[in-house]
């Protein structure tokens, strides 16, 4: 419970946080305590009982949930917050996305920072400036906003081609409207800051076309887990490596060694969510196999449309189109018209490159 009711009026909150924390600490077999001095501050501490973890288990876990946002890599953010610990926490969230972060404590010092580094690579990739509402200074805000706009027009080559966005971090949505409508603040995030909020903010900053709100960070694991994938390659080493990579992300993989076998497996109805197809195979190559698969799918779809076949019989889709992705070591061959003409949806390099695999797969399986 808070010392008096004026605390919640000034700082928000109901005092329930402490009860929750105590409960958590109890569950962890520990004790919570605090030292408080009115007018100065409080220090909270707790003990908890842990057991020794397995060697390498954390590595494995983190690798599974490694957020893959190749488009954010190399971007910078500036955090303006006079509470250093809070600023560091914001920085931590951003760094998880692969973003480089600088911290300043006031808008004024941020302006100095911008003018000191104005023609350097330090500001080249600055995408967003996060300002905590506590550090918001109305007078300086206009200066800051103008300085950011100038960054793009003074000839420095940037990857973004547009001014960095200003994002306000505030307690509630109440304060946002007038600042946003004044055109100074581009984006508002409520605290506590969530990863999904930061992602949306950055996506807007880099001009992401997808308007859909991201609810959780996507990873190859979240896209591929449980998906049935067919791998077609006549070389057994390539098959094994592709299978290993896809299985690592939780896919259920079937391997076949020929175009002909691919036809058998992808004749509707079937269970596969996608197919990775090698292009150069003897007897029937990837192009021909794909052509024939599309043929089979078209015939099947016609039957369903004409009523000759009930879609319920296939139990899954009324309109068959299995995503077929070419695997190729020779990118030129793949971007060739022929690839798309025969009905392939896209291509990935062989062997797989994680970032490319993610962005290609995301197109077909959405973002989680």
């Amino acid at each position: 419970m808070q010392a008096d009711s004026s605390t919640s009026r000034t700082y928000g909150g109901t005092g329930i946080g402490l009860s929750i924390s105590k409960r958590l600490v109890d569950l962890m077999g520990g004790e919570i305590g605090f030292f408080s001095e009115p007018g100065r501050g409080s220090t909270f501490s707790f003990t908890a009982a842990f057991t020794r973890g397995e060697e390498g288990s954390l590595e494995h876990k983190w690798k599974q949930y490694d957020p893959a946002f190749p488009e954010f890599r190399g971007l910078r953010a500036l955090v303006i917050d006079d509470k250093s610990i809070r600023a560091v926490v914001t920085k931590y969230h951003l760094q998880r996305l692969g973003i480089c972060v600088n911290i300043t404590s006031t808008m004024h010092s941020a302006c100095s920072y911008l003018s000191n580094y104005s023609n350097t690579s330090a500001l080249e990739h600055l995408a967003v400036v996060f300002v905590d509402q506590d550090s918001w200074d109305k007078e300086t805000s206009l200066t800051l906003s103008n300085m950011l706009k100038e960054l793009r027009t003074n000839g420095s080559t940037t990857t973004l081609g547009k001014p960095p966005k200003i994002c306000l971090l505030c307690m509630s949505f109440m304060e946002k409207d007038d600042l946003k409508s004044a055109g100074i603040v581009d984006h508002v995030l409520t605290k506590p800051v969530r990863l999904s909020g930061l992602i949306t903010c950055f996506q807007e900053a880099i001009g992401y076309q997808n308007k859909k709100r991201v609810t959780q960070p996507s990873t190859l694991g979240s896209l591929l887990t449980g998906k049935h994938i067919l791998v077609v390659d006549d070389n057994n080493v390539n098959r094994r490596v592709a299978e290993g990579a896809l299985k690592k992300y939780g896919a259920i993989v079937t391997c076949v060694d020929s175009g002909k076998a691919a036809l058998t497996h992808l004749n509707p109805p079937h269970n596969f969510d996608a197919c990775f197809m090698d292009l150069q195979m003897p007897e029937m190559d990837g192009f021909e196999a794909t052509r024939q698969i599309r043929n089979l799918e078209n015939k099947y779809n016609e039957k369903v449309d004409s009523g000759a076949l009930l879609p319920g019989m296939s139990a899954r889709v009324a309109h068959w189109h299995t995503p077929i992705l070419a695997m190729t070591a020779d990118v030129i061959q793949a971007t060739n018209e022929e690839c798309m003409k025969c009905g392939m949806d896209d291509y990935v390099s062989k062997p797989f490159e994680k970032g490319q695999l993610y962005s290609t797969v995301a197109r077909f399986f959405g973002s989680g």
């Binding site: 094994r240 490596v241 290993g244 070591a329």
Partner: protein, 151 residues
């Protein structure tokens, strides 16, 4: 040899293989795919690569030994070898394949034979290196140690 020494030798040996170009980043990728649910992945894939390569090298030798060489067939074999060496990260073997395919296009038996010779050499070298690496791993495990992750 005590575990610490073995582990250090392993790390140095691995680093040298990358430095000297025998292995490339794809091999690291394979190592990253290995985990508790797939504990022998690297050895499995590399063994497949050895089998596959030896078969292909034999096929190549026979194909180039014919009175009328079928260069399309030779090229197809080299293409396979390029693919599999690329998948395991056997960089030097993979790099031999491109000039080899050029020689096939020129339909020059002489130069093809030289390419074959070179690729055989590179293959035997990397096979030797990888086998040494796996032996070191086994020694470490036998001595009760964990195999260091090399980034």
């Amino acid at each position: 040899m005590e575990v610490g020494q073995l582990q250090r030798s392993f790390v140095e040996y691995m680093a040298s293989l990358f430095r000297e170009g025998f292995l490339d980043a794809q091999f690291s990728q394979l190592q990253q795919l290995q985990d508790d649910s797939n504990p022998d992945f690297v050895v499995e894939v590399v063994s497949l690569f050895f089998e596959d390569s030896e078969r292909l090298l034999n096929d190549l030798t026979m194909a180039l030994d014919q009175p009328n060489v079928d260069f399309k067939q030779v090229d197809a074999h080299v293409h396979q070898l390029k693919g599999s060496s690329s998948s395991v990260g056997a960089q030097r073997v993979k790099n031999c394949c491109v000039p080899f395919r050029n020689c096939c296009e020129e339909q020059n038996t002489e130069t093809c034979l030289r390419c074959l010779q070179q690729i055989k050499q590179e293959y035997l070298l990397v096979k030797n290196k990888l086998q040494t690496l796996f032996e070191l791993e086994q020694q470490i495990v036998a001595a009760g140690g964990a195999i260091p992750m090399v980034q």
